[in-house]
């Protein structure tokens, strides 16, 4: 069971790495100036672990064999307790005093409860949003944030929290409710990384939430209108548009998404302008999260959708419409490039806007970031093209590379923010990187065109 | 190795099919007296049927006196009086004749006509080499 709950060597390595960093920091720390950073690292690594286990839990609790295999619930309970226990071991070495440790255990237990609840009953996701948004009302209402008091009360509440958690654990290992929602979660976690978002397409329409249905419908309506308006010969749909229509899915980043993000950011900026500047730093997590989510839904999703439609697109490519040499390939490349470039420009604009309002990144960093994103864009398109034209299934690898690249970008950005980095464009290493990425994307596109002309 | 042939989808239960087949094989001498029949397990395996079915057939054959169960050897063809054997052969043919006559009656052909047809057939057979009695 451990292998199932902890599947995924990349995440495990990442977590263990964070633990190692935390322990190293503790050993080399002479004063407590970076105490907060240490706490954040250890909290983040543990939360990641709990989240990972929580997403895998439905595979075990809602498996049909759960009722038939002897001693199933007891084994599951044992394994969960074991994992939790092991996760607390690094904290013993890292945290400064007993009180903090006890408080941390309480926080761990509470967060585990929230994560698990979230997975089984999506309504509990509200807790995460509350946590992210909490600084706002606190800032607005001028509530002081006293860390000492919080930890003190959490430490004292530990016995109660433990008792509550143990009771819920017993219920969890026998839980079989909310089948519809849980089977959706299982559908997503039961596939490899290369398919996680694409698989959601196979969830029957009727099983989705009202919001998801409306979102998908309005997204598809845009394209339905294009098709139904193109009845006359004069209104022929262009090659690129045809391919665009073929590559749409309910999770695509379309007009809806652009509108929603624009509105969201505008509201956020308005809020930021009206609030006192000292509170701006509370918005930093949210503002850094936004480009991440846009890249995730706009870039990785695009890859997965097209990857899952490989055979469909291959069938399209041989239809009479595309019989002109390389017309399909060039139209396809046109679609991918235009889609991604628009996406990254959008992100660049967003970043600029939020930087102006919240001031969390300086102009230099902004320019550097835009260039890094450009490189990232080129590199990702290159590997996407490679994955799309090879016969072997490289879906997993590409998604992982994109994720790693993205996390690396964020880490680098944080590093840039804390040190005073000059303009990257003047750096020779970066110049080479930029040129290399340009070459790669050119080579990749060329190869893609060539592979089509062979048919 | 004898290969029995059964049809699982037939309306006749498998055990009955086996029974009829083995009965016929004993009566027409395909199985000689004291010959050992293949084991239940073997037959079931070859025919891909439930061993219980084969067991049932064998049991019925034992009951009717065709087979005897011998310790250590399995099912063995019983040695029987020639007269008894002959009687059983007659019974079997009698059944077939009854069916033939019933069928003829449905078609509106009289029993006498059937008898005549049989005589004709025997006459034409006499020109060919005779089969075993």
């Amino acid at each position: 069971m451990k292998t199932i709950l902890l599947h995924g060597w990349l995440v495990k390595v990442f977590i263990v790495l964070l633990w190692a960093i935390a322990i190293a920091m503790r050993l080399t720390m002479t004063d407590d100036t970076r105490e907060d950073l240490l706490l954040t690292i250890i909290a983040f690594s543990n939360f990641l672990l709990y989240l990972m286990v929580a997403t895998r839990l439905p595979l075990l609790t809602h498996s049909k064999m759960a009722v038939l295999l002897p001693n199933y619930s007891q084994k599951l309970k044992g394994v969960l307790l074991l994992i939790f226990g092991v996760s607390l071991l690094p904290t013993l070495l890292v945290l400064p005093d007993v009180l903090t440790w006890l408080a941390f255990v309480s926080i761990s237990i509470l967060s585990t409860l929230v994560f698990v609840a979230m997975i089984y009953q999506p309504i509990y996701q509200i807790f995460i949003w509350l946590l992210i948004l909490m600084p706002l009302p606190m800032a607005l209402l001028d509530i002081p944030f006293n860390k000492e008091k919080l930890f003190y009360s959490l430490a004292w509440l530990l016995p109660l929290i433990t008792w509550l958690a143990y009771g819920l654990l017993n219920k969890l290992v026998n839980y079989r409710g909310n089948q519809r929602h849980v089977s959706k979660i299982i559908a997503v976690t039961n596939v490899s990384m290369g398919k996680t978002l694409a698989v959601q397409d196979s969830i029957p329409f009727a099983d989705r939430t009202r919001l998801a249905q409306w979102w998908a419908n309005s997204h598809f309506n845009h394209y339905r209108n294009i098709i139904s308006n193109a009845t006359g010969a004069s209104q022929k749909i262009s090659n690129r548009k045809l391919i665009e229509i073929s590559c749409q899915s309910a999770n695509s980043f379309g007009v809806n998404a652009y509108v929603v993000w624009t509105v969201g950011i505008t509201l956020l900026c308005l809020l930021g302008i009206s609030i006192d500047e000292s509170y701006h730093h509370f918005f930093t997590p949210m503002v850094t999260l936004i480009p991440a989510m846009i890249i995730g839904t706009g870039s990785i999703t695009l890859f997965q959708i097209i990857h899952s439609k490989k055979s469909y697109l291959a069938r399209l490519a041989i239809l009479p419409r595309f019989k002109q040499h390389n017309s399909f390939a060039s139209a396809f490349l046109g679609y991918v490039f235009s889609n991604q470039i628009m996406l990254y420009c959008f992100i660049a604009v967003l970043l600029g806007l939020t930087a102006r309002v919240f001031g969390h990144i300086s102009v230099t960093i902004y320019i550097n970031l835009v260039l890094i994103l450009l490189v990232y864009c080129f590199l990702t398109i290159s590997i996407m093209l490679v994955a799309w034209r090879t016969v072997r299934d490289l879906g997993n690898l590409v998604v992982w590379l994109m994720l790693i690249g993205f996390i690396g970008t964020i880490v680098f950005t944080m590093h840039m923010a804390s040190t005073d980095m000059p303009l990257l464009i003047l750096n020779e290493l970066f110049q080479t990187l930029l040129v290399t990425s340009l070459l790669l994307i050119a080579a990749s596109s060329y190869q893609y065109l060539r592979s089509f002309s062979k048919r | 190795m004898e290969q029995f042939i059964i049809s699982p989808s037939s309306g006749i239960p498998i055990y009955k099919q086996l029974y009829s087949q083995i009965e016929r094989m004993v009566l027409n001498g395909y199985f000689s007296v004291d010959q050992r029949l293949p084991s239940v397990r073997q037959v079931a395996n070859d025919l891909n049927v439930n061993p219980m079915t084969v067991s049932k057939a064998y049991g019925l054959l034992e009951e009717r006196g065709y087979l005897t169960r011998l310790r250590g050897k399995g099912m063995v063809v019983t040695a029987r009086d020639n007269e008894v054997l002959q009687q059983e052969k007659f019974t079997m043919l009698d059944e077939m004749i009854k069916e033939l006559l019933a069928q003829a009656k449905h078609m509106g052909i009289s029993g006498h006509k059937v008898a005549q047809m049989i005589s004709d057939n025997i006459a034409s057979n006499q020109d060919k080499p005779e089969g075993k009695e």
């Binding site: 069971m1 292998t3 199932i4 599947h7 595979l59 498996s63 049909k64 064999m65 009722v67 038939l68 295999l69 002897p70 001693n71 199933y72 084994k75 299982i186 039961n190 596939v191 490899s192 | 699982p8 989808s9 037939s10 309306g11 006749i12 239960p13 498998i14 055990y15 009955k16 397990r41 079931a44 395996n45 891909n48 049927v49 439930n50 061993p51 219980m52 079915t53 049932k56 019933a102 009656k105 449905h106």
Partner: protein, 288 residues
């Protein structure tokens, strides 16, 4: 023989539609029961309800004499179940899945697993998601057979198998049923498989087990009769399911062959021809 499964008054609805309605069923040790039913009749639902995979509205079910939802660990280890759809974790390799399952059982036959894996040519290193439906079915069958269970429940076990695979699967089951202490319940569309290995047939129709009897008895009783008589002789066929009169008599399908009536007909010189029917036809007649 001991009663292995006893279902009484089982009622289950799905989305306000009644699927199983006061269903009664009793299965004894050593039975090899084939469960037939039309598509959507509720065969899967019945099997899942019996195993507490589904919730039920009312009814009592006991397995090995214990309440079906409070089975002891010992009882659970004596049950093998092959579901119709595969919800095993798709990114586990076959080997990992086997090892995972093995941890739950005290008795587990590694020899059986090795034998079947090599006979059915299953690549242990492949992930479940990389296997074809037929191979997945085979893996599920191996997982069910490995702990040497005494009660085997198969839900459409041969649905994804090709004819050769079905033969193989049948052979496995036949090897098992030679041990008369093992009870098998399987639902299927393929009546010829059932005719080979089952000794009892159950038909699920309109929410109930409308027919449950020995297979041979069924074939000997549910037959087509052609009765020849003169119109003046007013003959009625007992247990008639449906029939048609013609000029010289009547032809019909009966659900039971009344021996007393047969003798009476013989005495009255009424001709009765019996045409037996295969199970598929029997099923269609009984559920018409």
């Amino acid at each position: 023989m001991a009663c292995i499964v006893n279902v009484e008054g089982l009622t289950k609805s799905y989305k306000n539609q009644s699927v199983l309605n006061q269903l009664n069923w009793k299965i004894e040790q050593g039975d090899v029961v084939g469960l037939l039913g039309k598509n959507g009749a509720g065969k899967s639902t019945l099997l899942k309800s019996m195993l507490n995979i589904n919730d039920i509205e009312s009814g009592t079910i006991s397995i090995f004499g214990e309440q079906y939802n409070q089975l002891s660990t010992a009882s659970k280890s004596r049950i093998g179940y092959v579901p119709q759809e595969n919800d095993e974790i798709s990114w586990l390799s076959v080997n990992d899945l086997i090892n995972f399952r093995k941890q739950f059982y005290c008795t587990w036959s590694d020899e059986k697993v090795t034998e079947l894996v090599s006979r059915w040519e299953i690549d242990l290193t492949k992930k479940i998601s990389e296997l074809s439906p037929g191979q997945i079915q085979r893996v599920l069958i191996i997982l069910a057979l490995a702990p040497m269970p005494e009660l085997l429940i198969f839900d459409e076990p041969a649905a994804s198998l090709d004819p050769a695979g079905r033969r193989d699967f049948l052979k496995e089951i036949l090897a098992l049923v030679s041990d008369e202490s093992i009870t098998v319940i399987f639902s299927t569309h393929i009546t010829s498989d059932l005719e080979r290995i089952a000794n009892k047939v159950a038909i699920l129709d309109k929410g109930q087990i409308c027919y449950f009897n020995d297979l041979d008895v069924t074939k000997e009783n549910v037959v087509q009769l052609t009765v020849h008589y003169q119109p003046e002789q007013n003959i009625t066929i007992p247990y008639l399911l449906r029939g048609k009169k013609f000029s010289q008599g009547q032809q019909g399908i009966v659900s039971q062959l009344d021996q007393a009536w047969l003798t009476k007909m013989k005495q009255q010189a009424v001709e009765v021809t019996i045409n037996p029917m295969g199970l598929e036809d029997i099923f269609l007649e009984l559920t018409a």
